[in-house]
Amino acid sequence: MTIAVEAARRQQLRPQSVWKRILKRPEAGALGGAILVFVFFWIVAPPFRQVPAFTTVLYQASTIGIPAVAVALLMIGGEFDLSAGVAVTTISLAASIFATHVAGSLWAGVVFSLAFALALGALNGRLLILTKLPSFLVTLGSFLMLQGLNIAITKLITGNVATEDISGRQGFDTLRTIFAANFQFGRVQVSIAIVYWLVLVAVATWVLLRTKVGNWIFAVGGQGDSARAVGVPVKQVKVGLFMLVGFACWFLAMHQLFAYNTVQSGAGIGNELLYIAASVVGGCLLTGGYGSAVGSALGAFIFGMTTEGVIYADWDPDWFQFFVGAMLVLATVVNTWIRARAAKGK
């Protein structure tokens, strides 16, 4: 009894300033980075200061952020997914082609593509466990295979490099409302993708920090052998994470399909690195076991600001790539420094 009282007293006495608490979080570096980038474009690009510009930035961020949340969780679990970028296109194609050439119903296409996306994730995970190869290699393989399949199958079935326009078909309007609606918020148009993105980040944060599965994700990525030794189902957690990436890709794929009506079979290449970069800028450790969902959102937000900021500042869009690279290196350095401080308990 006295021990419990003592313990409670000690916890109250623990001196820990808010500032230190924030600095110890994985996303601390990304928060600082986001503020810096925001201030930078605020100064150099006058159109950036307007509210509609801000919603455009958020929309851009959400298209990176939706898969990036899942990729961040996967990275915390100690694995990579290089196929996520092209998988989005593959899933869009699967939905569109299944709807127009097989089932004749858009709803069937949407449901089929969800099952397909989850199966794709599960396949990546199972392959990883069966072959015991690093996920970098396994998903590099699936990345290249999907990239080839996307174009080959689209050409084979449609005789074209893009799918046909689905906007006239039955059910299109309802599905567009679900996945790609724009609604009026005050004076500005807001895409529903932003809402989905923020909800996804909130749910992922809840799962990571407040549930058993979240604890397992950190443990599996931090030290898989130790996790296994205390009874954590390591393989199931990893396969589950790959399926989560599949799910997030499906969500973005549906958004893009119903926002643009057709799918370009060559799209999506290179985006997988953007998702990984957003996660790393957001504080995820390349070796796993550390990171946050909010961090990935901040990372995506930084890249969203940069994409749009470069345009508003009237620069050549190619500067964006340079900026992403510079941010990545800078963020990694800052994160390493912060983590070293946190590890020392400062």
């Binding site: 021990i3 419990a4 003592e6 313990a7 409670a8 000690r10 916890q11 623990r14 820990q16 809840w206 407040r210 549930t211 058993k212 979240g214 604890n215 397992w216 950190f218 443990a219 931090g222 030290q223 052998d225 130790s226 996790a227 030794a229 205390v230 009874g231 954590v232 450790l285 076991g289 550390y290 946190a342 590890a343 020392k344 308990g345």
Partner: protein
């Protein structure tokens, strides 16, 4: 001193073979509540084989393994764990980047809430971890700090405290002081003796170090080449004799004769 004289674990004439090679022969051992049994021996003496059998990593080939008087044959560590036999290996099964309290409950998390809102009972787990560590004499300022930031000895104690908290009656400690300095070893040894005496746990302490063993042991067993070289209670043993056995026993005196030329022991040259 012992609270109950009936042994929790009893090994009768236990043996283990790998193909034609006999790794362990004729080992008898009893582990009682509140008693520290030290198992010493050179590399390859059979220590690992013995604790692997006790912890349930693989079953024995000869003899009898009794738990609470019932004959057992374990095929997985889980079965041993369910009977309260837990092993803490050198790797400790801790995740360095994870906070102390999350490590403590990893794989056995406490939850509350229902359905979709089922969540970790963070407050309860923090309090339990704090209590348990406090009882072991460890005073951590911040349970949110990653386990990797603790000292080697503190990590060891966290792992031991965890095993005790989750119902271990017999604790197998595989060389817990091997990688530690003097002060850190002292911390762990103090805790080993506390776990046994105050909480009535039967401890099997594997070590290379006769000084550490003699400090906390109630019963000593020295293995050599798969056989029992020495098996004695503390009352019949001096540190010198233990060190003599640990250092190689009769083999060593033969070597000493040979080196100092008190007469050639080895034939030939």
């Amino acid at each position: 001193m012992a609270r109950s004289d009936a042994p929790i674990i009893q090994l009768n004439n236990i043996g283990k073979n790998y193909g034609n090679i006999s790794a362990l022969r004729g080992v008898n051992l009893s582990v009682r509540q509140g008693e520290v049994t030290c198992i010493l021996g050179d590399n390859g003496a059979g220590k690992s084989t013995l604790i692997s059998i006790i912890a349930g990593l693989f079953p024995h080939d000869e003899g009898e393994y009794l738990v609470d008087g019932q004959p057992r044959r374990f095929s997985s560590p889980r079965e041993a764990l369910d009977l309260g036999i837990a092993a803490v290996y050198q790797t400790l099964a801790l995740v360095p980047l994870l906070p102390v309290w999350r490590n403590f409950f990893l794989g056995s998390e406490m939850e509350n809430g229902r359905g979709l809102f089922r969540r970790l009972d963070t407050a309860e787990m923090l309090a339990k971890t704090q209590d348990e560590l406090h009882r072991m004499g460890i005073d951590l300022e911040d349970l949110e700090q990653p386990v990797g930031t603790l000292s080697g000895g503190q990590r060891q104690v966290v792992a031991i405290a965890r095993a005790v908290h989750f119902g271990a009656r017999v604790l197998i400690l595989d060389e817990p002081t091997a990688a530690l300095g003097v002060a850190q070893s002292g911390l762990v040894l103090r805790y080993i003796s506390q776990a046994a005496r105050q909480q009535g746990i039967g401890v099997i302490f594997i070590t290379h170090n006769p000084h550490h063993a003699y400090l906390v042991g109630d019963h000593f067993m020295v293995l050599a080449r798969g056989e029992v070289d020495l098996d004695t209670p503390r009352s019949e043993l001096t540190l010198d004799r233990l060190m003599f056995h640990m250092a190689g026993g009769r083999g060593l005196s033969a070597l000493e004769h040979e080196i100092h030329g008190d007469g050639p022991v080895a034939p030939g040259t």
